[in-house]
Amino acid sequence: MVHALSEIRRVLVPNGILIDLRPVLSHWPIEVVSARDIHETGHIQDLPLGLADDHAANQSIAQAEKNEWFMRAAEEFFPFNYSWDSPSEMEEWIADEWEGFIQLDEESKRATRSAWALGDADAIVRVKVKMLITNWKKRISGDDE
């Protein structure tokens, strides 16, 4: 991944910008949401593979910063919501698309199913993914001359 950052730096103009946009595991909350109410029913479990991915990304970007390839200009977290019509759809999606990275524990499944079944007719299920966005400015070094 450090090599990828080196390549990105190479193809950017002087003072070019790199936007790093990615999800960060942090026990994302699960909610049952209706027009009238938001009810938190549990949290996603982070799995070792997902945590290792985040760690590797953080290490790579730290190395690029240490090498003075890029300068952090701005950084922020924001929520990115995934919504499903029912708990079973959420469970299926997580098992299929995020297998190995995150999982649902039985208590969160049970609480979500219960809150959704007892909730308003318009209730949906939502996972609030934590996103990180960073603006990196390419630094000019002697190697670029």
Partner: protein
């Protein structure tokens, strides 16, 4: 299955808060099916999305609006070995791809 992603459009809001796309030559790494690409490409001078997933790139190309055909392209390439000359792009986006 019905899934909705980012109904609040936070990703678009933050992307535009963090980058000025107007007239820029943009490289998007990990573009997939182009979900993010369509949120900014119209403003750019040119946009090139790369990914390793040929099927996703096919979908992105099929979904490309006709008025963006001249400025948005997709290509299969690895981020570790970018097939471009130095200083080709003004802006790069690492999109969900670390």
């Amino acid at each position: 299955m019905t899934i909705q992603k980012d109904a609040e459009r936070n990703e678009t809001k933050y992307l535009h808060r963090f980058a000025d796309f107007a007239g820029k030559r943009v490289l998007e790494i990990g573009c997939g099916e182009g979900r993010l690409t369509w949120q900014y490409a119209e403003e750019t001078q040119s946009t090139l999305g790369i990914d390793l997933d040929a099927d996703a790139l096919r979908v992105a190309t099929i979904d490309r609006p006709s008025d963006l055909e001249t400025k948005v392209n997709f290509s299969r390439a690895m981020s570790e070995q970018l097939p471009f000359s130095k200083e080709t792009f003004d802006l790069a986006i690492l999109a969900w791809s670390f």
